[in-house]
Amino acid sequence: MYDVIIGLEVHVQLQTQTKIFCGCSTAFNPDQPNVQTCPVCLGLPGSLPVLNREAYRLGVKTALALNCQIAKFTKWDRKQYFYPDLPKGYQISQYDLPFSCGGHVDLVLNADTGETRRVGIIRAHLEEDAGKNLHDESGRGRASGVDLNRAGTPLVEIVTQPDLRSAEEARRFLEELHALLTYLEVSDCNMQEGSLRCDANVNLHVHQPDGPKVATPIVEIKNLNSFRFTEQAILFEVDRQWREYQRTKQTIRDAPKSTRGFDHERGITYPMREKEEAADYRYFPDPDLVPVTITDAELDVIRKTMSETPAAMRSRFQVDYQLSAYDTAVIVAQGKPFATYFEQVAQSCGDGKQAANWLTQDVLRELKERQQTIAQFAIRPDVLSALLTRVLEKRLTIKSAREVFVDLLQSDETPTASRIDQIVAAKGLAIVQDDAAINNAIAAVIARNAKAVADYRAGKQAAIGALIGQVMRELKGADAQAVREKLTAALTDGPS
């Protein structure tokens, strides 16, 4: 019936220590308004901006990760409009010569089939963030205030091609971008603190019975500050546009682009008040700033400091550790510290599949229950690896290992490899390797279970399960495979 066409504009705060054009701190500090300010970010008369080269460097890293071309020469422009949170009456941004353009992100739509969507990046440019207007929400009509702590925080604005085809794809894109930017350590992407904000341009291409498609008017949904809200807002908007189209048959030629907000409590988009006059930002080059140039050598230096992207890490994990696409996706999606933890365990114990199972099940479960990050997790990679090594060496069953794992976490003592051995010894969980002990246990169980033995010998294969269980219990820890073999032999050959 129709295709959904979505393009995103994403604003990402770069994690510099100081603002993009002055030395003030970028720390998130909403409780103490206007303390992280100076004449420059307050826009006082006579103050002048000076580029924080670190902001530019992080911007370049971001753009390189988005497969963008980096301009050898870039400049700063003033975007002029009046607003209380914009102390200079203009925002320093980039207009016609952004520092980068023309990239893409490959979005894996289906991990199993490997289906991907290539999302084009039109451009990424640097700019300064505005402050924040604070309105009295008590209803007592108190004066509004402006907090300029945020004013001058470096932002990268990333503009995609309208390549996304569903609300889910839009969310997936933001998740991928989030992973990319946090892996590169260019942004903390903390959405509660507004480090990543998104505007979504949405319209429909409605299929006509006679063939060609008709585009509905474009709607820009502003200030979406979570992945879930982005998805919800687009879902709502698609439905709304479809109903609107059926009712009015309005196309992109009949109505200009309009702006809507998203009310996440009601789950609806609503029209935002249009600006009083048509926006003419009167961009022009900022004469207070000199253009920025970068050489190939400098670019190489930045490239060399770039860590692996999530996409590269996913394909490497599949090859290096023979993981499924699904497992790699889960591990990488947890963030770089988690992926690093995985890799340490996998390398140290030598079995990536085993490490992945433990990480994606046991460790993730515990983290969730304890509301911890991997960095806070008590069992460090060397200890988990020690535990898994004991399983791989058949000194411990997986079941016993899980018991030890839980004990390690519940104990007050710091989990260590020797602590594992203490628990194993105390609980007698070590796999019995002694053939005589196993044979004795088998003999004892056979002696006690005449009926089951008879059943088995009469051809009831399933009866062996209960017998194995009893032997295992008797031994407290044994290699189930070895027990099964010996028991089968005893039942087949041995005297009754």
């Binding site: 006082l44 008369p45 006579g46 002048l48 209380p84 009083e276 009167r282 207070d288």
Partner: protein
């Protein structure tokens, strides 16, 4: 200074040698202000006690054998566009009435560090927009040579204060001639350094790519002394250039051998007053007599200077002055009910007519649909103007010519004719567009006793050539010792 016979350079040497105290020099200046500023109206703010206590502190240090800074207690007046911590910095605008910055401009820091004594803040055309000082919302400064006439502008107060010997030196800012033009009309020395020579940090911006701070003084040496105190790289201004600052005062008395002086016919075309032309030509003859070679040079795009300047300066100004919105500081309209009214009424009430005119011109030039034909075109012409100068300076060391087409004009004479007013900067604007240094120095009096200025311009960073060339002339003449009747 007394009768005005002591030049700024001489006073500075006496202060350095300890022959005279800063307290004495400062008292002389303050007394002159008390006596004469009622006629001149150069100052918008004078803090006598602060100046004297600062002078006293410097003298005490000298007496105790401790080191004293470069300026050695020299009194300095500053144009009221230079942010000074805790002092009113108004740009002669109602928009900034009562505004006291929480920080010092780079040049103010440098003056403090050099032991200059800030004696007062001087009047100007509002936000440095004007050529006569008449656009001040505070007061109209008068030319000390004839108080019915303007001192020129926009640094009207600084020029008039030095001319009336109320201060030996002063700082101004020059965007299209705002130092050189009033210096010329007031018979003193004024210099605009190369763009990037002096940090603009803390200079309230008019047109960022053209603004440059520079000195006024009663003589060339005084100007060099003051520029040496404020020049040099400042990392807080991206357009400040990191180049060594030569000791201009050390070389200033060395004449330039084989000096090649260019004379542009464009500077002697229609509109130039005969008396001014005569004085400037005889100044060039003085150079010839000193062995300089005089050559014709051509500045074919000079005729586009005014149009180019007003497009670029106003465009930048429209952005630079957007911050005055009644929101964070400065004037806020009391009657405003809505956000839009707060913006529009605060600006409507706070800005004067000329500032509004330039903001509107600039807003128009940057508007969608006009940007290419105005702003972008002006940038292209600016490049051509710079190339004219490059070509000229490949042949000559300095270009000599008039500062202004006429001597000082009457107060009110051009206020109803902005274009006529704009033309008074016709010879000075080129240096701003090309980023060159230029100096204005007195070279005569008209038959009615008004000063005439000689302008010398040089290639970027050649301030030393300008100072030495200007001093060569000054040593041969005594125009710089002539003072207005009110001083004598």
């Amino acid at each position: 200074m007394g009768s005005g016979q002591t030049t700024a350079g001489e006073l500075w040497r006496r202060l350095q040698s300890g022959e005279i105290t800063s307290t004495a020099a400062t008292t002389t200046a303050l007394d002159a202000i008390a006596t004469r500023d009622s006629q001149v109206a150069a100052f918008v703010h004078v803090d006598r006690d602060a100046a004297l206590s600062r002078a006293d502190e410097i003298d005490a240090r000298r007496k105790a054998g401790q080191p004293v800074g470069w300026l050695a207690g020299l009194p300095v007046a500053v144009k009221d566009v230079l942010c000074t911590r805790g002092q009113p910095t108004t740009c002669a605008s109602q928009m900034l009435a009562g505004f006291r910055p929480p920080y010092d401009a780079h040049v103010i820091e440098r003056l403090h560090a050099a032991d200059g004594v800030l004696i007062g803040r001087t009047n100007l055309d509002e936000f440095a927009m004007g050529s006569s000082g008449e656009n001040s919302s505070v007061q109209i400064t008068r030319n000390p040579w004839d108080t019915t006439r303007t001192p020129g502008g926009s640094s009207s107060g600084s020029a008039a204060a030095v001319a009336a010997r109320m201060t030996p030196v002063a700082l101004g800012s020059d965007t299209g001639g705002s130092i050189r033009q009033p210096a010329g009309l007031c018979g003193i020395v004024g210099m605009k350094p190369t763009y990037g020579r002096v940090s603009r940090y803390g200079l309230v911006a008019y047109a960022s790519s053209l603004d440059q701070i520079g000195p006024f003084a009663t003589d060339v040496t005084g100007a060099a002394v003051l520029l040496e105190a404020i020049a040099g790289h400042d990392p807080r201004d991206s357009t400040s250039v990191n180049r060594p600052v030569p000791s201009w005062t050390a070389s200033i008395n060395e004449p330039l051998r084989g000096l090649k002086i260019g004379v542009a016919q464009e500077h002697f075309a229609e509109g130039l007053d005969d008396d001014v032309a005569r004085a400037v030509r005889s100044a060039i003859d003085v150079y010839r007599s000193l062995g300089a070679e005089i050559r014709d040079v051509s500045l074919p795009h000079a005729k586009y200077c005014i149009a180019t300047y007003y497009l670029i300066a106003c465009s930048e100004a429209s952005g630079n002055l957007a911050r005055y919105d009644g929101m964070h500081y400065g004037h806020r309209a009391a009657s405003a009910q809505t956000l839009l009214e707060t913006f529009s009424r605060s600006r409507g009430e706070g800005f004067g007519a000329e500032v509004k005119r330039r903001i509107m011109l600039g807003t128009y030039a940057l508007s969608s649909g006009y940007y290419d034909q105005y702003y972008v075109k002006a940038l292209r012409v600016r490049r051509l103007i710079r190339q004219d100068f490059d070509a000229a300076f490949a042949q000559v060391d300095v270009i000599a010519g008039p500062v202004t087409p006429t001597a000082a004009f009457k107060i009110g004479e051009k206020t109803d004719d902005p274009l006529a007013m704009y033309l008074s900067d016709i010879y000075t604007i080129g240096a701003n567009l090309a980023g060159l240094p230029g100096i204005s120095l007195p070279c005569g009096l008209t038959p009615s006793g008004l000063p005439v200025g000689l302008q010398l311009q040089a290639a970027p960073w050649q301030e030393e050539t300008l100072f030495r060339a200007a001093r060569m002339y000054e040593r041969e003449t005594d125009w710089h010792r002539r003072v207005p009747a009110m001083v004598a």
